[in-house]
């Protein structure tokens, strides 16, 4: 069975600095997607960034980038130039590329941004 592990319950970063959130996963499949979702306090969960497992190039979205290490089954999120609005719970998620499109989420990392 696939599992997703986020070992950092909470992280803090100074405004304008860079922070990296960790995620590891376990799967025997070779074709899948990985996601980072952001859930601000009392607000909706939104997609931050997506990575296709067949792509070697790491995904980037403005200040957000990932370090995808397929062999190590590691998928970390780097947030550059952190802003106060980045404060939220961040969830790592996994989904097979075909089949039922079932998502498996990690337990989340709470990111605090210090002014």
């Amino acid at each position: 069975a696939q599992t997703v592990t986020q070992s950092q319950p909470e992280m803090s970063v100074q405004e304008a600095e860079t922070v990296t959130l960790s995620c590891t996963y376990d799967t025997s499949e070779s074709d899948y997607y990985l996601f980072w979702y952001k859930q601000p306090p009392s607000r909706q969960m939104i997609l931050v960034i997506r990575q296709e497992a067949y792509k070697q190039q790491n995904a980037t979205e403005n200040r957000f980038s990932v370090n995808f290490q397929k062999a190590a089954k590691s998928f970390s999120l780097k947030i550059s130039d952190s802003q106060l609005g980045d404060a939220a719970m961040y969830f790592c998620a996994y989904r097979l590329a075909s089949g039922t499109y079932k998502y498996i989420f990690g337990t989340g990392t709470r990111l605090k941004v210090l002014a």
């Binding site: 997703v4 986020q6 607000r43 909706q44 969960m45 939104i46 997609l47 997506r50 969830f91 998620a93 039922t100 499109y101 079932k102 998502y103 498996i104 989420f105 990690g106 337990t107 989340g108």
Partner: protein, 115 residues
């Protein structure tokens, strides 16, 4: 485009009472998900619909939880009777499967407190 709608936003009930949640997905989205998110944890899939058929309900406590998606659009999730451990946020999400860039869109959630 309009997002995923959920109601009510908050609900407080006593144990052994019944409660129902409603979800209206994004127009045209064939896949609908119900998640349970207990405080401090990541979302856990309860049930997944493809149009009006159930794709995955392996983690749905069927002795007390039920869900339906009539006509492949709106969906309701019911708990009867509720237990204290059902206190959680119930998230609905929808997606348009089959696309390379398939993405889940989440609703605001219904926060349930069982006393």
């Amino acid at each position: 485009e309009a997002g995923v709608a959920q109601s009510p936003r908050y609900k407080i009930i006593e144990k052994r009472q019944s409660v129902a949640f409603w979800c209206n997905p994004i127009s045209g989205h064939a896949t609908l998900y119900w998640y349970q998110q207990i405080l401090g944890q990541g979302p856990k899939l309860l049930i997944q619909f493809q149009n009006n058929g159930v794709v995955d309900d392996s983690q749905l406590p069927k002795d007390r939880f039920s869900a339906e998606r009539l006509k492949g659009v709106d969906s309701t999730l019911k708990i009867q009777p509720a237990k204290l451990e059902d206190s959680a946020v119930y998230l609905c999400a929808s997606s348009l499967p089959g696309q390379i860039q398939e993405t889940q869109y989440f609703g605001p959630g219904t926060r349930l407190l069982v006393l």
